[in-house]
């Protein structure tokens, strides 16, 4: 290009034309490339991008169901829902949390406890989930926040359903409580393929009926198909599958009976199980002391938790199902039946009781509770006066294998199968068990003391009640159950739970009659529970028991001043009434109560009096069930619904 060119307009113009054609051609090619790209995106990849646009646009919002209500047999509410406003923070959207909370504290009341709970919940949650900072806002607080809402991004007022237990600590162990879903719950839900149904649920049953009937109480989560904009705000609802509420449950429990039982315990610790022998229904299930399950719903604060957990009274342990105690003399009616059925004793067989029993070839004396003994004792009398010597000998005659085998039919050493979680099986020992567990042989002396319900024998109050039911029912045993009926949330139909018979223990009617008669005499003058049975206008059959306290359990804190009191014997009483047509079976255990006849039997008497006669004990004062906070009607208040739609500002992104 260095040489000077002669300009020929003709040539120059032709070159220009040529270059222009090239440029036009390139432009045409590039446009063609664009068109191919459009074909690729809009035809070939259309399905993919269509799906992406739809998933941008549509989000599925779970609509949590409202949890089933739990009623007692009279229709009194034991667990219910109420709707209240919570203030919740979504950490992702809220900026600096500490500042946000400080600012919020000027609008609504937020105390140190709220902050602490928030921090704990925050640690458990994911950043995009909203975490409550305050529960149960008042109407005024809601209004105050709503006015100031523009200042708080990522903070929302939500209407949520809360669980409430109107009887507080009376049913703590039976009805239990719900709590926030934790990692372990999530793992379990995932294993059961239930995770999807818990999208949008914050709570899950943790204890008692709330836990064991979780699947029924929870209900089915609905789905709302919502069109959302890029900031996640719902623009409109496209479709909605309504949630299905959980089943309402009606229990065999009688709230008043339970309260009577609670009251008559006084300050004692212990447990009481009352069953309906005709169907195994659990009429009362008391474990004293209890605790207020309402504390657990929002997450218990650490001070209250420590108080409950560290208390030497161990209020968190459900003694009726998880307290294992030596049955003491309450085992004797079953021992008597064993001796008769196995054939090692006849009803008329008598022994002479010198006040102790000695194994052949040994000098060790197994003492009767009565110094000097009871003299001549037959089977009936052995129960009425609770003669230990008689049962030492009987146990020795039977041998541990036969004894355990027979008693196991009554449910000793096995879980009763009641519809609550966490029940313990107790222990009906055998030599094989001892060899396996303790790597030691069985000693004959261990059989002897097992005969009076000491040694290795351990039972729960529930097991005692079930075993007593077997006698009351002439051998027919039902699995104890709390559930009496349930209401289907869709059809509204109420279905009744069928009794669950466990079979019939084969026993001669003659033997049964004899033992029952003896148990009635226990509560008559001359019996060990004569005081408790005095003037009963019905036939009360029972058996007292006194169990030595072996020691202080692991983990329990020593309190020197209390050790003496806590080493006192446990008092037990099993009973059924009326003996000729049993309508109620009761097993009572009073920890460190001393004698069964003087401490446990009166408790059972008052409970049975109320049940059969409607007679309220003098100590009884009805607990007013807490009322649900009056704010909302409970039905259909979807927990995630917003109070007010956000105002969409136009042009912010331009």
């Amino acid at each position: 290009m260095s040489s000077l060119r002669l300009i020929n307009p003709e040539v120059e113009f032709l070159r220009y034309r040529r270059r222009m054609e090239i440029a036009g051609g390139v432009a045409a090619l590039l446009f063609l490339a664009l068109f191919s790209r459009f074909v690729w995106l809009q035809i070939i990849q259309y399905d993919h991008y269509h799906a992406l646009a739809e998933s941008n646009r549509i989000s599925l919002v779970p609509a949590p169901p409202s949890r089933g209500v739990v009623y007692d047999r009279q229709g009194l509410v034991l667990a219910q829902n109420f709707s209240a406003y919570t203030l919740e923070i979504t950490p992702d959207k809220a900026g600096k949390l500490a500042d946000t909370i400080d600012q919020l504290a000027r609008v609504v009341n937020i105390d140190a406890e709220d902050r602490k709970r928030f921090r704990r919940l925050l640690a458990e949650s994911k950043n995009f989930e909203s975490v409550p900072i305050r529960n149960r806002l008042t109407e005024e607080e809601v209004a105050r926040f709503t006015v100031n809402r523009y200042r708080f991004s990522g903070v929302e007022v939500k209407a949520r359903l809360f669980r409430q237990y109107p009887f507080a600590d009376i049913f703590s162990h039976v009805v239990g409580y719900i709590g926030r879903i934790g990692q372990r719950d999530l793992d379990r839900l995932e294993a059961n393929e239930q995770l999807a149904n818990y999208r949008g649920s914050d709570y899950i049953g943790k204890l008692g009926i709330e836990a064991s009937y979780e699947a029924w109480l929870h209900g089915n989560t609905g789905i709302e198909k919502v069109e959302t904009d890029s900031s996640g705000r719902a623009v409109r609802v496209l479709s909605r599958t309504a949630p299905v509420s959980g089943h309402n449950l009606y229990l065999h429990l009688d709230a008043k009976l339970q309260q009577v039982a609670e009251k008559v315990f006084g300050d004692y610790r212990g447990a009481l199980v009352a069953l309906d022998p005709r169907n195994g229904g659990v009429l009362a299930l008391v474990s004293k002391p209890g605790f207020d399950p309402n504390l657990f719903v929002d997450g218990i604060d650490s001070a209250s938790w420590r108080e409950l957990n560290d208390s030497p009274d161990r209020p968190l342990v459900n003694r009726a199902l998880r307290g294992v105690y030596p049955p003491g003399s309450t085992i004797k009616p079953f021992m008597a039946l064993a001796g008769l059925e196995i054939g090692v004793r006849k009803p008329a067989d008598t022994i002479s009781d010198p006040g102790y029993f000695v194994l052949p070839g040994s000098s060790h004396r197994y003492r009767d509770w009565k110094k000097g003994g009871h003299g001549m004792v037959d089977l009936k009398r052995s129960l009425v006066i609770s003669c230990d010597t008689y049962y030492y000998g009987l146990a020795h005659l039977m041998g541990i294998e036969r004894m355990s085998g027979f008693l196991a039919q009554f449910g000793f050493g096995k879980k009763s199968g009641v519809d609550l979680d966490g029940e313990l099986a107790g222990l009906m020992p055998t030599p094989a068990w001892k060899q396996k567990r303790l790597k030691q042989p069985w000693w004959p002396g261990e059989t002897v003391i097992a005969g009076i319900g000491q040694g290795f024998v351990l039972t729960t109050p529930m097991q005692l009640a079930v075993a007593t039911m077997a006698i009351a029912n002439n051998g027919v045993v039902y699995k104890p159950q709390l559930i009496r009926a349930w209401r289907d949330p869709v059809s509204g139909q109420v279905s009744y739970a069928a009794p669950r018979p466990l079979g019939k223990i084969a026993m001669s009617p003659e033997h049964l009659r004899l033992v029952k008669e003896a148990m009635v005499e226990v509560t008559q003058p001359g019996g060990t529970a004569s005081a408790a049975g005095a003037n009963a206008p019905y036939l009360l059959a029972g058996k007292t028991g006194t169990a030595q306290v072996i020691g202080i359990r692991q983990g329990e804190k020593y309190d020197a001043s209390r050790v003496a009191a806590r080493n006192r014997d446990h008092a037990l009483f099993i009973a059924f009434a009326p003996a000729d047509d049993p309508k109620i079976v009761v097993a009572v255990l009073v920890e460190n109560g001393g004698h069964g006849g003087s401490t446990a039997a009166p408790v059972a008497r008052k409970v049975i009096d109320y049940w059969l006669l409607g007679k309220l004990p003098t100590v009884y004062a009805p607990v007013e069930p807490m009322a649900a906070p009056p704010e909302e009607e409970v039905e259909d208040a979807g927990p995630t619904e917003e109070i007010a739609p956000p105002v969409v500002e136009e042009g912010a992104t331009q």
Partner: protein, 366 residues
């Protein structure tokens, strides 16, 4: 003089087919802006005001004789350079770029002026040297091009500097730049690319290119625009979701949907059929523009008009390529469709010049 004669006179320098095509494009653009702004009346009003002003400017410019235009070439270029120098020294920084110059009353972006001033200057220079055009002249023209481009690239405004480079290159190309030089320059540019990548480009510019390759690497940051606009285009399908019915648009997923990303709105709502129509409309405008440019009586006219039309084509291509995810994100509006006065003014004034250069035949000596 009757009214008819006034109109004849007024529109004497307009090209009917071109103006018709431009009008059609503007109409289509208004429909899209209406949808993209969510029927924001203030924005619509301002869009029509911009359109009227730009059309007025086009009409006005079409009356300027090419000779007068040629006189503007050097002063406009020089003024542009001075302003660019001013920006480099006193410019205000917006969004990390030093592009604006505060002039008390208003703030201006001198690089906008250079979009027309640079090709005009180069066309004028080649025209001026046409009798004795040789390699050295192209070298000097190249320098005249690179000087402002350097300033603009430094602001940094990579998109504008590349597009101005393109418009200058079109002048040189149409003016007969040797193929050897073109191929050599292309080879050199290719060789220098890794170096430029590491030294000249800013991080955010590198990111834009990287996100083009893999938008999902940063779905909420730099990749977000591209992901959402590609979804919008793709989900439009063959026939589109219908005017005002684009979900990506109306649910706020598309960023900058009334300006640089307006093509995504169009594409989502009108689909492949709409895209084909738009491509054909652009092609027709470019075709008509190139036909007109070739008919310009002077070399200045041919070069300048040709460069204007090819630059227009480039803008359209780059914008649609960017929105559909085959080019990196550069701040280029879709010509005559995007909301925004400056771009519309520049483009329509450009076409005004094209028409002026072609229709003032008898006033120009050849």
């Amino acid at each position: 003089m009757n009214l008819r004669a006034v109109f004849t006179r007024l529109f004497a320098h307009l090209d009917g087919p071109l103006v018709g095509l431009l009008g059609l494009l503007l109409l289509l653009g208004s429909l899209v802006v209406l949808s993209a702004t969510g029927e924001n009346t203030a924005k619509i009003a301002s869009h029509f005001l911009n359109m009227s002003l730009a059309l007025g400017a086009m009409l006005l410019v079409s009356h300027i004789p090419p000779q007068r235009l040629m006189q503007f070439a050097l002063p406009a270029y020089a003024l542009g350079l001075v302003l660019l120098l001013g920006v480099a020294l006193f410019g205000i920084v917006v969004n990390g770029s030093r592009r604006w110059l505060e002039l008390g009353v208003t703030r201006i972006q001198p690089s906008e002026l250079m979009r027309l001033a640079v090709p005009m200057m180069l066309a004028w220079y080649l025209h001026y040297k046409q009798e004795t055009l040789r390699g050295r002249d192209f070298a000097i023209a190249g320098l005249l091009l690179m000087l402002p481009v350097g300033f603009i690239a430094k602001q940094p405004d990579l998109g504008t500097s590349l597009l101005i480079t393109a418009s200058g290159f079109y002048v040189l190309f149409l003016g007969g730049l040797s193929w050897k030089v073109i191929v050599g320059a292309a080879a050199a540019a290719g060789a220098a690319l890794p170096l430029a990548w590491n030294t000249l480009l800013h991080d955010y510019q590198r990111n834009r290119v990287l996100t083009l390759i893999d938008p999902s690497s940063d779905p909420l940051g730099a990749g977000y625009h591209i992901i959402q606009s590609t979804i919008a285009v793709g989900s439009g399908g063959v026939s589109g979701k219908g005017w005002m019915a684009g979900t990506q648009t109306h649910l706020d997923f598309l960023p900058e949907r009334s300006t640089d990303f307006i093509f995504a709105v169009y594409s989502e709502e009108f689909g492949l059929i709409g895209n084909l129509f738009l491509l054909l409309l652009y092609a027709a405008i470019i075709w008509r523009g190139l036909v007109l440019a070739a008919a310009a009586p002077s070399l200045f006219g041919r070069l300048f008009a040709g460069a204007i039309v090819l630059t227009f084509a480039t803008y359209a291509f780059v914008n649609m390529g960017m929105v559909s995810g085959i080019l990196p994100v550069v701040g280029v509006p879709l010509p005559l469709v995007s909301y925004g006065g400056t771009s519309m003014l520049t483009v329509l004034v450009g076409f005004g010049i094209v028409m002026s250069l072609v229709t003032h035949k008898r006033l120009v000596k050849t």
